[in-house]
Amino acid sequence: MSWKAIDRISPVIEKDAPPLLSEVVRGKIRSFFPRYETKRAALLPALHIVQDALGHVPYQAMVEIAELLEIHPSDVLDTVSFYTHFWTHPKGERVITVCRSISCEVMGGAGVLEELKKQLSIGEHETTPDGRYSLVTEECLAGCDHAPCLLINEKLHKRVRPQDVAKILADQDNDRLDVPRSTLFDAREEGEAPAAAKQQSTFMEGRGTKE
């Protein structure tokens, strides 16, 4: 029988699990509070910080963020699930994002996506067994004039044809940015090396950093 309801009542977080967010991460989140009128407003920076530190935002982290910001975990999940930027489960070292919107679609984006799936042997929202690549689709990468395009972490590859895919995948530096990374959301211990897959965009750099 198809009549089956998904259980959303049973808890998914282990009781008495040790806190996931380190004191450094918490401190970094708290440092954003004075910028806004409400603590709730610090949700997006908090999510960036946590994803930067953990690689993704698991349910337990959402609950801990909610406690910090004095909001309901449901509000956090609302925001996390709204932005495809945030991951609720571990992702690969490099995330390949393919545009599925109109411009790329008419310029042959679907063919690129098919080729990627074939080369990586994974489907959408999946990660390769070696943990190197994750594949997702996105509504628009704001690169319509260079369609079809794809992102590898934060690096935009323009005018990609299906036959280019193998070359791009083979390139070791296919995610290297031309500009330096922002450290706005970094919450690293002194001397800790940046973890893999912690590439962050530069879009917030210089904004809201007034001391």
Partner: protein, 541 residues
């Protein structure tokens, strides 16, 4: 008062409301999903779009604006000209309905909402007859999101009324919209279910069959009900409700809009608190006990026998030996009739008020709100008519006792004849109290809905009816008198309290709340005109 023109008709409307509200109040049936008068406005469903006249940017002449505007978000302004009957507006409604139904499973035959579903109604009125969708439908899953409601995501139109309810009315924030765009779904945080004392309302405000009540799931079709307007007896607030019944079985209670008390909401305690009325253990028929022998009485004999026994008793022992305990679950009319009968038999008789069930404190919503911000309140006083009965006792004058004083006095053999009214949904007569009262009365009338400890020695046992079977009025905690109708017939052998009290008090004919209120109005003018909250038109919210 602003004057606006809707579809070439001039409409006077209150200031500060929106065009949609003005149109709904003036009798237009404008389709809408996301708009609910009790919640904030998001203008997301796009079904209520209208055409509006604006000054042309070049000529300055008034002309129809080139794009449609959401009527739910546009405040009225004097001299405004809008229309809903143009082809553009109708086309938008048709197109929107097509989008709403794109992924809808169309499982109305097994859906509880069928018959009271906005999707059905609007589809019939504003939609098209057949679907042009050729692709596979997206089927969203059903979700168990809490102890009361069940979420059918596949039927959801993402109006976000339920989400706004938990954020603005209950203040508990359990619900949210997960994902976005065409993948949006209503959801809870896993392990943090929708579980608050007013959660049942999300089922009421859901315009489609997405949120359904587990308690009512697959029980009944909506069009089979013969509803009655009533007042919730759960607490002293006296929320306006509708009792949905068929063939004398109550299936559910729904809130009725009443701006003076509950707006659009009721609490779960009231909503699901009616189950006791179908309990098998209810007192079934009137009984007369003489020593060890027990006789089942006919209802016709009761007024004469009771009057005779009380007269005889007063002659023998004097009028000050008579007492009656009125219950805060009685309607005002019933309390008045009983008080009148007792005082007629014995003018010096003592009248008392039964115990008032109290909880620790009032519950206010949104959680933690104070003063003006409070949108909904549950009283700590778990009975509907303490104030009404108090008002009647006050008007009756003479000896009026508190329940504790009555027990004290009765324990000291002050009364030899007593009439005790219960009617509480939960056991109310404590063992110690019953023991104190036991063996003190020669003539004891016990009127209750469930058996209690005093019934074993009562001379007369009179079955009481639940509020769903009675008619009358309750006075709520703010002193507002509200009438309620009977919804179902009493069980076999049981007669309505009002009717037999009417006869016992010496009146003939049929009891009706209105008739008794006319009699009461002579001494209590407040009861001269008791009006129910006005009925709202369909789709008014």
């Amino acid at each position: 008062m602003a004057k606006i023109t809707i579809d070439n008709k001039e409409v006077e409307c209150r200031d500060g409301i929106t065009v949609l509200q003005a149109a709904l109040e003036a009798g237009w049936d404008i389709p809408h999903y996301c708009y609910h008068p009790g919640l904030s406005i998001v203008a997301s469903c796009r079904l209520c779009l209208m055409e509006m006249q604006m000054p042309h940017p070049k000529t300055g002449e008034m002309d129809w604006a080139p794009k449609l505007l959401p009527s739910c978000q546009t405040p009225v302004k004097d001299g405004m000209v809008v229309r809903f009957n143009s082809e553009t507006v109708k086309k938008n409604q048709r197109d929107c309905m097509e989008f709403f139904l794109l992924n809808h499973p169309l499982d109305c035959p097994v859906c509880d909402q069928a018959g009271e579903c906005y999707l059905q109604d609007y589809s019939y009125r504003f939609g098209r007859a057949e679907s042009r969708m050729v692709d596979q439908k997206t089927v969203n899953p059903k979700k168990d999101i809490g102890p009361r409601p069940l979420l059918y995501s596949d039927r959801c139109v993402i109006c976000s009324r339920c989400v706004r309810f938990t954020r603005e009315i209950s203040g508990t924030f359990e619900l949210h919209v997960t994902q976005r765009g065409s993948r949006s779904e209503i959801d809870v945080f896993p392990g943090r279910p929708l579980d608050n004392p007013v959660q049942g309302n999300v089922v009421d405000i859901c315009p489609v069959g997405a949120l359904l009540d587990k308690d009512f799931l697959f029980k009944k079709r909506a069009w089979e009900f013969r509803p009655a307007n009533s007042i919730c007896p759960g607490c002293a607030r006296g929320c306006s409700i509708r009792i949905d019944q068929d063939e004398d079985v109550v299936y559910r209670l729904k809130p009725r809009y009443n701006p003076k008390v509950n707006d659009w909401w009721i609490c779960d305690e009231g909503r699901f608190g009616y189950k006791y009325i179908h309990d098998e253990s209810r007192v079934k028929g009137p009984i007369l006990r003489r020593g060890q022998s027990v006789t089942r009485l006919l209802w016709e004999e009761i007024p004469d026998i009771l009057r005779f026994r009380f007269q005889e008793h007063v002659e023998k022992h004097g009028g000050d030996k008579v007492a009656a305990v009125l219950s805060p679950f009685m309607a005002c009319e019933e309390a008045w009739l009983l008080g009148r009968f007792i005082r007629e038999m014995a003018p010096q008789a003592a009248l008392a008020m039964g115990p008032v069930p109290l909880e620790d404190e009032d519950q206010r919503f949104p959680v933690g709100a104070k003063g003006e911000a409070v949108k909904f309140e549950i009283s700590k006083e778990k009975c509907p008519n303490r104030r009404g009965v108090e008002a009647i006792l006050e008007q009756a004058g003479g000896t009026v006792l508190a329940f504790e004083d009555f027990i004290e006095k009765a324990g000291a053999d002050a009364f030899s004849a007593a009439w005790i009214v219960g009617g509480y949904p939960k056991p109310w007569l404590e063992k110690a109290v019953a023991k104190k009262l036991s063996g003190k009365s020669e003539l004891l009338v016990v009127q209750d809905i469930f058996p209690n400890d005093l019934m074993a020695e009562a001379t007369f046992v009179l079955p009481a009816c639940s509020w769903a079977e009675r008619e009358g009025c309750f006075m709520n905690i703010d002193g507002l008198i509200q009438p309620f109708d009977w919804a179902i017939h009493p069980p076999d052998g049981v007669k309505r309290d009002g009717q037999y009290l009417f006869e016992i008090a010496g009146y003939t004919g049929l009891y009706s709340g209105k008739r008794v209120r006319e009699l009461m109005a002579a001494t209590m003018p407040a009861f001269a005109e008791v009006l129910a909250a006005p009925q709202l038109a369909a789709h008014a919210h």
